[in-house]
Amino acid sequence: METIVEENIDPNDLKKFEGLYNEQARRGHISEKTQFDYAWCLIRSRYVSDMHKGIALLEDLMRIAKDDLSQRDYLFYIAVGFVRIKEYERALKYTEAIRKIEPNNRQAQQLDGYIKAKMKKDGLLGMAIVGGAVLALGGLVGATIAAVKKK
């Protein structure tokens, strides 16, 4: 799952699908497929602003999605988008929504597991940083006390 989530798009591919999207936008009608293609590319961009834009386009598609299959596909990539911008709690809401449509969807289960592992790791890392700070502070206090005692 890591490969799927962390994979970045070739900028030329992004440019190509952006061009198709913009052309349809100029003509006044953007097809669901063109919007999806562009959104899927955007969330795989290196830039966070593109990822946000991709998520917004997918959320927009969710409002018009007619069948479970397309809803499931949009939900999955919204989840991937939120993982990429490190909004894990929000990402989990979307993997849960997929579970309601396809309870046994393996990709969604794997993504869910990946997100939870990330959260755990980040949580531990966070604690390690706080822990480190406490130790450093303790050291400082200890040094100060020692310095005071010397006097």
């Binding site: 899927w40 397309s70 596909d73 999955f76």
Partner: protein
């Protein structure tokens, strides 16, 4: 392997393509996990799997991109064809329409990969012989006319699944050995990993992100 920072000497990139429901993900799963997935939902976008195999006593890591057959994904999944050393093109022997669409998949594969990409045709679900809709002979002829390797497989029973993935790798390896595949070309789909360690003290532990102290 005792020598080298990697436990394999080559990486080959594969793609799996073909119509929706022909069993692409089940073939991948059978190959990587040696299990059959019943009631597998349609793939969302792409899936990724790896397995290390051995060809001519060389360890080769296969990096396999399994593309969704849904039309919705077709445009964007084309970008995954780039730089593939092997392409497994799958149809379902019980559904003629999936066979009839092969020429369109083949056109994509030819246009989007390099001339040395090994294309392997797989007729999946050969365990369902009673429901057969495409004869072996017909598909064999199609494969010969188009210079493709060909096997009928069953992701369910596992029949010929290993062979399809391994024969593709053998062909790629052969292309490297006879010089027809240039490893330095940007999109050969093959990466060569140094077999001898730069530093003889280096152990054979693969680089592990988890142990990184950063």
């Amino acid at each position: 392997m005792a020598a080298g920072p990697y436990n394999y000497s080559y990486i080959f990139k594969y793609i799996i393509i073909g119509d929706m429901g022909v069993g692409k993900s089940c073939l991948l799963h059978q190959f990587t996990e040696k299990k059959f997935m019943a009631d597998c939902p349609h793939t969302i976008g792409v899936e990724f799997g790896t397995r290390i195999i051995e060809v001519a006593s060389q360890k080769i890591k296969l990096q396999i991109w399994d593309t969704a057959g849904q039309e919705r994904f077709r445009a964007v999944t084309r970008s995954y064809y780039r730089g593939a050393a092997g392409a497994l093109m799958v149809y379902d022997i019980t559904r003629r329409s999936t066979y009839n669409h092969l020429s369109s998949w083949l056109t994509d594969a030819r246009n989007l990969t390099n001339p040395n990409t090994v294309i392997f045709l797989i007729g999946n679900k050969c365990d369902l012989d009673a429901q057969r809709d495409v004869t072996y002979e017909e598909a064999k002829q199609f494969a010969e006319e188009n210079g493709l390797m060909f096997l009928e497989c069953s992701a369910k029973t596992g029949e010929n699944v290993e062979d399809a993935f391994l024969d593709t790798a053998k062909k790629i390896y052969q292309n490297i050995q006879d010089g027809s595949l240039d490893l330095n070309a940007a999109e050969s789909g093959v990466q060569h990993k140094p077999a001898t360690p730069r530093n003889p003290i280096t152990t054979d532990q693969p680089p592990n992100k988890e142990n990184c102290s950063c």
